[in-house]
Each structure stands twice: as structure tokens, then as C-alpha cells.
């Protein structure tokens, strides 16, 4: 087998079809590890015409809160986020838990907020993950919103819907444990009612992410009022 292959190579070399030395591959100096190419799936989202590099503040807050809503819906949500990153072949951007934590830390409302900004590729990766996971949770999201509709039409407390009450409580707990209570943006949500409203808003947005064009719509909406 090996002999045959060597024979083939010799034949090609003789014909001059493959000339490794000529291509400079033989004595090529490698100074740095090869730069991993950005996953192709990111090209489905166009680059917005932003005045400065990095994602605007609202986009960073939005992405983090949507991920938090997914975690509130799904108990194993944080694990699912990492698995989805693997499934969508986004490891070059999100290699692990720490990178994900750093990316979500760009939300300025966080307790351990990162000073760096979120790059567009990172934001695209998070957008795709949110849409993928929300699509998996479509049935639950629709049930919760339908229940919310019925309860609010009858002016009943939201806790009457067991599953909805569970979601709201988990969302409030996650929000309070992760957000810096001294920030003005967080002080605005200092009551259960305001946090419930935020949780329902995020649930509604997750519903719109579940659609056929969900990623494109979510991606576009992140830059509303920011592009020039």
C-alpha cells in the first residue's frame, strides 16, 4: 500500500504536477499557530454598518438577558448553551465555559462586568445559539405566553399558572444573583412586578426568535437605532 502511494507521488513529482519544494511547503517557517477560520454559519448574518467596532451596549444586554431567559426556562440551560455551541461548530469562537462567561460578562449590568466589548462574530455566535435553543423550546414558550395572555385578560396573578410562575421566579432569582444592584439599569428593576414584565418581554422576544427567519430578525433588531 505504502509502496503504491510512494510510487504515485514519485510519478507526479516526475511530471512536475506536484512540486512541494517549489510551493515553498517544505521549508516553510511556521511562526504562529494557524488562525482558525471563522465558522461559515456566521456568514448567514450580515455585518451591520456600525460607527465603531464592537457591539453596542443594548445588543450586549439583550443577548445576555435572552440567554438568561433560556436558562430560566430550561434547568440545564447553561449546559445546553455549550452543547449547542459544539453542535453548531462554533468552538473557534466559544471554546468553553470560561469564554462564554467572559462574553456574557460584556453586559454592563453584570456584577462582574468585563470592560472589553463583544466582537461581531461573538455576537453572531450568541444569536445563533439563542435562536437554536428557543426553537427547541417553542412548545413551552407558546404555552407560557398563551397562559400569560389568559391570566392577564382575567386580571389574575401570574402565579396561578404553575409553569409560568416557576419561570418568572427562576428569572428573578437569576437576575438578582447576577446583576449589579448598584447600576442604574438594574435599579430600574427593583420590584417583582418590574422583573416579571422584563421576563415576559424576554419570553416574547424568544418566541420571535423561534421563527424561520428568527436569527436574521434577532440580529437585525440588535442594531436598531445604532447603524448610520
Amino acid at each position: 500500500m505504502g509502496k503504491t502511494r510512494a510510487g504515485f507521488r514519485q510519478k507526479f513529482l516526475n511530471r512536475g504536477l506536484i512540486n512541494f519544494a517549489g510551493l515553498g511547503l517544505v521549508d516553510m517557517q511556521v511562526d504562529s499557530p494557524p488562525v482558525p477560520a471563522a465558522p461559515l454559519i456566521l456568514d448567514t448574518l450580515p455585518n451591520p454598518n456600525l460607527p465603531n467596532a464592537g457591539c453596542p451596549r443594548r445588543a450586549r444586554v439583550e443577548l445576555d438577558l435572552l440567554l438568561m431567559a433560556i436558562e430560566a426556562l430550561d434547568v440545564s440551560g447553561s449546559e445546553a448553551i455549550l452543547q449547542t455551541a459544539q453542535h453548531l461548530e462554533l468552538q473557534p469562537i466559544i471554546p468553553g465555559r470560561v469564554k462564554l462567561w467572559l462574553m456574557r460578562g460584556t453586559n454592563p449590568m453584570r456584577r462582574y462586568s468585563q470592560r472589553r466589548s463583544l466582537s461581531l462574530d461573538e455576537a453572531k455566535a450568541l444569536t445563533l445559539i439563542i435562536c437554536f435553543l428557543s426553537k427547541r423550546l417553542t412548545v413551552l414558550i407558546r404555552q407560557l405566553l398563551f397562559g400569560y395572555q389568559q391570566l392577564s385578560d382575567k386580571s389574575l396573578a401570574l402565579e396561578h399558572h404553575f409553569r409560568l410562575g416557576d419561570y418568572l421566579e427562576r428569572f428573578r432569582t437569576l437576575f438578582r444573583s447576577r446583576m449589579n444592584p448598584k447600576r442604574a439599569g438594574v435599579i430600574a428593576y427593583n420590584t417583582d412586578e418590574k422583573l416579571n414584565d422584563l421576563a415576559i418581554t424576554m419570553l416574547t422576544r424568544l418566541l420571535f426568535c423561534t421563527g424561520t427567519q428568527g436569527p436574521q430578525r434577532l440580529w437585525c433588531s440588535l442594531f436598531d437605532g445604532e447603524v448610520v
Partner: protein, 354 residues
């Protein structure tokens, strides 16, 4: 050939009827001409219907409205757009009302309206997305997705709110300027810098030190501090005297001078041993304060320097408490002479001829 396409979702059914292909012979040809479009919602009796214009308006309006739900940023341009026959606006916390104006050619008069729940609206949007993704129906119809430019977004604060800080700042400045206008400008009196005084004094001391042979080696030392450290040192006492010469005004009153002169002689004689004798005449220049304290003395001849311990001058020397502060009380200067036989005389020294 008339073709019907249906996009069925749990809460919305979108029906598009039209002609496929130019000649109608190819069954796989895409639907390109819309004759009729209809939206049905369960629980709402009247479906929304219309022609191509209705469908185009619906695609645009639903897309814009969905984007504003996702971002929470209202689009000023979309709400102002009068050209579209379909408008969507929020109706209460969880309701969205769709209004379809009658087109001019149909002329039915009454606009069609429907109030949708969020889930129903989402299904409408999803039906439209599926229609757009369907290459067999209206392939030229594309999704008009664009982020809203900055200029089309209503600023979160009104113009009056944004102008308020500027106005408050400017008016505060005006008020402060008006108040300060009535305060007179303080006239600045030039004061003698203490640093300059010190250096001048130091120079004077050094000059004096050089004038006496045998003391040149010590003249470079910081004499001022020595004067405070050891009042018995003749060099230091001389420095103190030099300080006084520079800084202190002279006493000019004749009576005071005479009194101080006799007082000085009395005090020195009382301190001096009665049987003291000197090899030579000892001549000192002495500065005395108004109260008779000896503030400084200086040798005038060589024996005066070597035999200063035999005179009572070191013990009479007054040590100022605060050595750093220059003395500015008036002084009188006398030339004090110890004769070899032990007698003491004092005579006035004029400032002009020391």
C-alpha cells in the same frame, strides 16, 4: 393556471391565490401573479383579504413591527409611512391591531381591522416568513430586513429635556457672574518673600566670615543653625548679630540708648569676675534689645575671639525660642571694650560707620 398556496400555522392561515407561469403549461412553474391573498385567524370571523398591494403592505408592516417588538425601538419612519395600506400598532399590553385601508380600485369603504394576540401575530409573521422562504411562490419577493438607522429613532428624551442641562448650566454661570460683579477686586500688596530674605542673610554672614582671618574654613557651614544650637560659640553669636544688622531696625531714641548703654556695662561688670584680667584689650560689637537682652555679639579684634570664654558675654546671650523666625524687634549696637585691668566700657556704634 390558478394555483393556491396555503401556509397553515396553529393561529393563522395565510392563503395566496395566483397564476403560475406565463403560459400555465408547466405545473412546476412558480406562482408569480397574485390574484387574491387572505389571512384567517381562529376566533376572528372576518379574514383580512386583498390583492398584491395588500400582500406587499402586509409583508413590510409585519416585518417592521416584529423588529420593533424584538428591539423595543419604535420605528419613526414606519409609523409615518402613509403609502402602505397595512398598519400595525400596539393595542394594550398584549394585543396588536392590524388595520387594512381599502384600496382605491376596490373601494369597499370600511377599513378591515383585526386585534391579534402576541402568539397570533407571531404566527402571522411566521406564515409570511415561510412564504418568503418558499421559492415556488413569488420568488422575487424578498425579506426587507434592515436595522433602523439612528436618525429614524425617536430619541429617548425630548428636545426640552435634552436642552435642560445646558440652560441650567448657562443660567448658573450668569447668576454667579452677576453676584461676583459686586465684590470689589482685592488689591494685592507685594510682600517680601521669606525665601529671598534667608539667602540674602546667608550671603551677608558669609561675607562677614571671610573678613576675619582664621574663620574662613568655617564660613561655609550653615551658620544660622549653629547660632541656635550653641549660643556660646562666638561664630554663631556673630551670625546672630549679622542677622540683626540686616533684619532689625535700630533704636534711635537718645534716652533709651543711654539707658541701655549704662545697663549693659552694669550687667557685664556684675557678671565679670572682680579679679579678672586680660592679656589684651577685647573689643566686641554687641546688639541689645529694648529690654536690655544681649541678642548677639561679635569680636572686633583677634584676642577677643580667643578669650571670649573669659568674658560673661556667652552666658548673657539671649537664646530666642523660635530660632527660625528672624528677629524684627528694634536693637541698639554698642562697642564693648574689656580693658586688660578688668574695667568695661561701652560706646555707641552708628549704623553708617560700623
Amino acid at each position: 393556471m390558478t394555483v393556491q398556496r396555503q401556509y397553515i400555522l396553529p393561529n393563522c392561515t395565510l392563503l395566496v391565490e395566483g397564476l403560475a407561469g406565463a403560459d400555465g403549461s408547466d405545473p412546476a412553474a412558480p406562482l408569480t401573479v397574485v390574484l387574491h391573498a387572505e389571512c384567517q385567524f381562529p376566533g376572528i370571523v372576518m379574514p383580512l383579504k386583498g390583492g398584491r398591494e395588500f400582500l406587499d403592505g402586509l409583508v413590510q408592516a409585519v416585518s417592521d413591527y416584529a423588529q420593533s417588538i424584538l428591539s423595543g425601538v419604535p420605528n419613526l419612519l414606519a409609523s409615518r409611512e402613509a403609502g402602505s395600506i397595512v398598519t400595525l400598532e400596539p393595542n394594550g399590553p398584549n394585543r396588536h391591531s392590524v388595520t387594512v385601508r381599502p384600496t382605491t380600485d376596490e373601494d369597499k369603504g370600511e377599513p378591515q381591522t383585526a386585534v391579534l394576540t402576541t402568539v397570533q401575530f407571531f404566527d402571522l409573521m411566521e406564515a409570511i416568513d415561510q412564504l418568503l422562504a418558499d421559492t415556488q411562490t413569488l420568488p422575487e419577493l424578498s425579506l426587507p430586513l434592515q436595522p433602523i438607522p439612528r436618525r429614524n429613532v425617536k430619541p429617548p428624551e425630548s428636545v426640552a429635556q435634552r436642552a435642560a442641562p445646558v440652560v441650567v448650566g448657562a443660567s448658573t454661570l450668569v447668576v454667579a457672574a452677576a453676584a461676583l460683579f459686586f465684590i470689589p477686586i482685592p488689591d494685592l500688596k507685594p510682600t517680601r518673600a521669606p525665601q529671598g530674605n534667608n539667602s540674602q542673610r546667608q550671603e551677608q554672614v558669609e561675607l562677614d566670615g571671610e573678613s576675619v582671618p582664621g574663620t574662613t574654613a568655617q564660613s561655609g557651614e550653615p551658620l544660622e543653625s549653629a547660632a541656635i544650637a550653641d549660643p556660646t560659640d562666638p561664630i554663631a553669636a556673630a551670625a546672630a548679630l549679622s542677622q540683626l544688622e540686616v533684619a532689625a531696625p535700630a533704636i534711635t531714641d537718645e534716652d533709651t540708648l543711654a539707658a541701655l548703654q549704662s545697663d549693659l556695662v552694669d550687667r557685664v561688670e556684675s557678671e565679670l569676675d572682680s579679679d579678672a584680667t586680660f592679656d589684651d584689650r577685647l573689643i566686641y560689637r554687641v546688639a541689645v534689645s529694648e529690654t536690655g537682652e544681649v541678642l548677639g555679639y561679635k569680636y572686633e579684634n583677634e584676642p577677643a575671639l580667643t578669650q571670649v570664654e573669659a568674658t560673661p558675654l556667652p552666658s548673657l546671650m539671649y537664646l530666642p525660642v523660635d530660632g527660625d523666625r528672624p528677629l524684627d524687634e528694634p536693637v541698639a549696637q554698642f562697642r564693648l571694650t574689656f580693658e586688660p585691668d578688668g574695667s568695661v566700657t561701652a560706646e555707641r556704634v552708628d549704623d553708617d560707620a560700623p
